[in-house]
């Protein structure tokens, strides 16, 4: 007999499981359209590797994840890719996400499959790759890629491998029926996972309300070392942390993962998917879904192709539209209500409940908390739900976090028992969301501050450098000034003081006068002879200008002739340009003549002097 531990708290909601266990698992058939979300797992979304209009075979890979964490998506049946775009996906918010839409051709034709004869002869990494290529991610809840989970880091040796067959949520019987009817596949999938992980202990945990499943598994494990642990029915025994506590007596550290304490949990459906991937080379293209609730005529479990729309499934199960009041994806404790039936079944969809108004009545209006503490009694995480509620309501998020808000698994046991009908879980989700937003904003603010500080620092540095350079320049200038003074002093000593001063002021005037080859030169007559020298380059430059203008004019005329010969439409433009250039050449010529005259006069006056 396996030793069992108990977890604190827990509740015993009405099970309603018999609704969907009376009939064996049936095939749901092929609907008119399959909508395959590219993100059915945690991590990066897959990228389509098919185009609209492509024909695909059943099991053919149609989307893959090239980098980052993720698994591929396969065609659940043969058909044609109809479109790729945003469609509503299963999500509490009712959001749309990128999907591939497949129009089945009805032939259900498989692609080539190459099952391995003996997986034990392969490398473990090769088997993990088979699991990855089969698109397997956890089918119980979060949808974590299985091949990554099955390869924990080296320092985390898995001693205990747990297969979670607790299925503690009311209504859901998908795992129960799978264990009853496909016990061999469950066990062989578990064996593959055990071969990969080499744990010391391998145990299947089943709640004691599923005796048929336990019997079937007991038969299937004959000759293996796998244990079957039948555990007392108590919600949420199937919570990963709770099941680990029940079977090992250990607790997963807060914020950690089971591998931290050498434990790993896998889901029943995942085990079957692994078995099929390894032994049949069949990718994950269908899963068992429980369709239940009193608004269905024929509730039961169905083998459903991934991507099958919920409305098609409800039809298969005999939905009575006039009776249905609430439509839940998942169980009644943790599932979420659907706004539309136009969403597809994905790898993690385990149950759809079509409930009547009397079956799951609306809760009575919220009353004041009387601090009765029943929520704390039933909390499997040993939190103080009541205090968390007060703090969430008062938006004292820091206090809520201090009371371990983030350890809450949102199992709903507290709300279930609350005599004042307070939607406690909703308050916790709100608080968690607010804290996440605050953290994100804090991060953003921190980054902005860092950026600002870095910029400020850079600007300061530049300012300092500038200042430094300015000082250096000033220093150099001061030195030069001093040097000049010294030289001037020397010059004065040799009796040329007046001329020296005149020379320096003339330098400035020169610069101003240089462009004017003007008659003002007459006034400059009184200046020292040095003045005449700079006039010379003026004539030279004028000569140059004149020569340039002339050559330009010549080229233009040549171009004009060419243009005329070719009857191009830029003739007019060229003609205008040439006229302009003519003027320019004329002006240059005049200026040159003037300059020469002036020069001549200057020379004259100089000679007079």
């Amino acid at each position: 007999m396996t030793q069992l531990w108990d977890f604190s708290g827990g509740v015993h909601p009405a099970e309603h499981k018999q609704l969907s266990t009376s009939r064996p698992i049936q095939a749901a058939g092929i609907p008119g359209q399959l909508v395959l979300p590219l993100q059915q797992h945690i991590g990066e979304p897959a990228e389509p590797i098919v185009a609209i209009g492509d024909s695909v075979l059943k099991g053919q890979k149609i989307a893959d994840v090239s980098h980052g964490m993720g698994v591929p998506v396969h065609a659940p049946t043969s058909g044609v890719i109809e479109s790729i775009g945003d469609y509503p996906v299963p999500h509490p918010s009712g959001m749309a996400d990128k999907c591939i839409v497949l129009k089945p051709d009805g032939k259900d034709e498989w692609c080539e499959r190459y099952p391995v004869s003996d997986y034990r002869k392969l490398d473990r990494d090769q088997v993990l790759d088979i699991i990855r290529s089969a698109g397997i991610s956890g089918m119980g809840g979060a949808g974590f890629p299985t091949h990554i989970k099955l390869k924990p880091s080296r320092d985390r040796k898995v001693d205990t491998l747990i297969l979670n067959g607790a299925e503690c949520e009311p209504y859901i019987t998908a795992d129960d029926m799978t264990m009853r009817e496909r016990a061999d596949e469950v066990v062989s999938g578990l064996k593959v996972m055990a071969w990969i992980l080499r744990p010391e202990r391998c145990v299947i945990g089943i709640e004691d309300n599923k005796p048929e499943a336990a019997t079937a598994l007991r038969e299937a494990i004959q000759g293996t070392q796998i244990e079957i642990a039948v555990i007392p029915t108590k919600y949420p025994s199937g919570g990963e942390k709770q099941l680990i506590q029940i079977l090992t007596g250990m607790e997963v550290p807060s914020g950690g993962i089971p591998a931290d304490i050498g434990v790993m949990c896998q889901n029943i459906g995942t085990a079957v998917a692994v078995a099929r991937a390894v032994f049949e080379d069949t990718p994950l293209v269908c899963r068992v879904v429980t369709l239940t609730g009193e608004a269905l005529e024929k509730p039961g479990n169905f083998d459903v192709l991934l991507g099958t729309p919920v409305d098609y499934l409800l039809e298969q199960a005999g939905l009575q539209p006039e009776l249905v009041n609430r439509l839940i994806l998942g169980g009644p404790m943790m599932g979420y209500t659907l706004t539309t039936t136009a969403i597809p079944v994905i790898k993690t969809s385990n149950c759809i409940i079509a409930a009547t108004a009397s079956e799951l009545p609306a809760p009575p209006p919220e009353q004041a908390c009387i601090r009765c503490g029943q929520c704390a009694e039933v909390c499997p995480m040993e939190l103080l739900p009541q205090q968390l509620f007060w703090h969430a309501k008062a938006t004292e998020f820091e206090k809520a976090e201090h009371l371990n808000l983030f350890d809450c698994i949102e199992c709903g046991a507290c709300s279930y028992v609350c005599p004042s009908s307070i939607p406690l879980v909703q308050y916790y989700r709100y608080a968690k969301g607010e804290i996440r937003v605050q953290r994100a904003e804090q991060l953003k603010a921190d980054r902005a501050r860092e950026r600002f500080e870095a910029r400020q620092e850079r600007l300061d540095r530049e300012q300092q450098d500038k200042e430094l350079r300015r000082k250096e320049r000033a220093k150099a200038a001061a030195e030069a000034q001093a040097k000049k003074k010294v030289e001037a002093g020397k010059a004065a000593a040799s009796g040329e003081a007046v001329d020296g001063r005149a020379a320096s002021s003339a330098l400035v005037e020169q610069a101003l006068a240089r462009k004017k080859a003007s008659s003002e030169a007459a006034q400059a007559q009184a200046a020292i002879p040095a003045d005449a020298a700079p006039e010379k380059p003026d004539i030279e430059s004028l000569e140059k200008q004149f020569a340039q203008a002339q050559s330009k004019l010549e080229t233009m005329q040549a171009m004009l002739e060419d243009a005329k010969a070719q009857q191009a439409d830029n003739v007019e433009k060229l003609e205008r340009a040439i006229t302009k250039n003519h003027d320019r050449v004329k002006r240059a010529e005049e200026a040159l003549a003037d300059a020469r005259k002036t020069l001549a006069t200057q020379t004259e006056s100089q000679s007079i002097e």
Binding site: P13, P321, T337, L338, A357, A368, I370, R371, H402, L403
Partner: protein, 350 residues
């Protein structure tokens, strides 16, 4: 098809606050029956009167606060407060004493603090303590003489008249000091045997009282069985009282014996019906144990060395004061954590 949008969980257990309170009322009925059998009609009349005043004053204050009257009255918490006061007050307490107690309980102790769930003090005990201090004579001289209902006790009409008139003379000959009062005031000058010869003790431990306490004990166990209250507070309360009595009160010529402590006063009513009021009690199991034990210790201290023969009201109120402090230091250890996180965020983390 338009579907109902609801946040999980979608299933709920069907035991609303109103039903919880109804169970408290039902579980108190054996005690009321025993009181009526041994002390006459007084308690029953008080209970009805107190519940009526409680509902009326709650309705009045809800109207002033613009709150939905019927919706709140239906939670039965005002009725429970009225019931507890009716069970606690002396059988012949004049009508106005009861009215003052109930009105101060509902209006001041409960509604002025924000109504159900927001009151730091047990409303019934606030009302009781207030009249005990304000009207000490009325609260000590109006206890009925223990006698079987069909024996010599005053009839229903006489009792009703006595309560309605509030005249001390109307009940002469039907009243008697309570066993705890008698013992407390006589033991200084008498031996235990002499004190116990007083008719208030009868032939057993404390005539009538023992049955009343036994009935409240049974009712309390039913509440624990129904998971309406947990065992922590009553067990710690009674355990502390027993421990104190064993430690200090072994000499019956000096202090009341343990049997009287447990069965003569309001002990069982206090332990199972009053101290367990969740609103004003500590939250975690550890906190409840400390809270309950604190009440038990205080009751013994006040009864033995204080001025009052019974001390449930003061002890409960004193521990109500301590609840925020207790809660602050006794959070449970959360799954996956090494230690409980005590204190406030940012300080005193352990």
């Amino acid at each position: 098809m338009a579907f109902v949008q609801q946040s999980s969980p979608h299933a709920h257990s069907a035991r609303p606050t109103s039903k919880v309170m109804l169970w408290v009322i039902l579980a108190a009925l054996p005690g009321l029956l025993a009181q009526t059998l041994f002390f006459g009609w007084g308690n029953l009349i008080n209970v009805v009167w107190c519940i009526a005043i409680a509902l009326a004053s709650e309705a009045a204050i809800l109207k002033l606060r613009s709150k939905p009257i019927v919706f709140v009255l239906k939670d039965n918490t005002a009725a429970v407060t009225g019931l507890l006061l009716g069970l606690s007050l002396p059988q012949f307490a004049p009508w106005w004493v009861s009215a003052v107690a109930v009105i101060s309980a509902i209006v001041i102790a409960k509604q002025l603090y924000g109504g159900l769930g927001s009151n730091p003090f047990n409303p019934a005990m606030v009302g009781y303590a207030l009249v005990l201090i304000s009207f000490p004579v009325a609260m000590t001289t109006n206890w009925a003489e223990p006698a079987l209902l069909w024996d010599s006790a005053p009839g229903f009409g006489d009792t009703l008249a006595a309560i309605a008139s509030g005249q001390q003379t109307a009940i002469d000959g039907w009243t008697m000091a309570t066993p705890l009062d008698e013992y407390k005031h006589k033991i200084a000058s008498h031996t235990a045997a002499e004190v116990l010869a007083h008719p208030t003790f009868g032939e057993g431990i404390a005539k009538g009282w023992e049955w009343v306490n036994a009935a409240f004990l049974v009712g309390g166990l039913v509440l624990i069985g129904l998971k309406i209250i947990t065992w922590h507070i009553p067990a710690a309360f009674l355990g502390a009282l027993v421990a104190m009595s064993l430690a200090f009160g072994s000499n019956a010529d000096q202090y009341a014996p343990l049997s009287l402590h447990l069965l003569a006063g309001g002990t069982m009513l206090g332990a199972f019906f009053i101290a367990t009021d969740p609103v004003s009690a500590a939250t975690s199991h550890q906190g409840k144990l400390i809270y309950g034990a604190g009440i038990g210790v205080l009751i013994y201290l006040i009864r033995s060395w204080g001025n009052y023969p019974d001390a449930v009201a003061f002890s409960v109120l004193l521990m109500n004061f301590a609840v925020p402090f207790i809660d602050h230091y006794t959070p449970p250890r959360t799954y996956g954590h090494h230690k409980a996180r005590r204190g406030q965020p940012g300080r005193g983390r352990s």
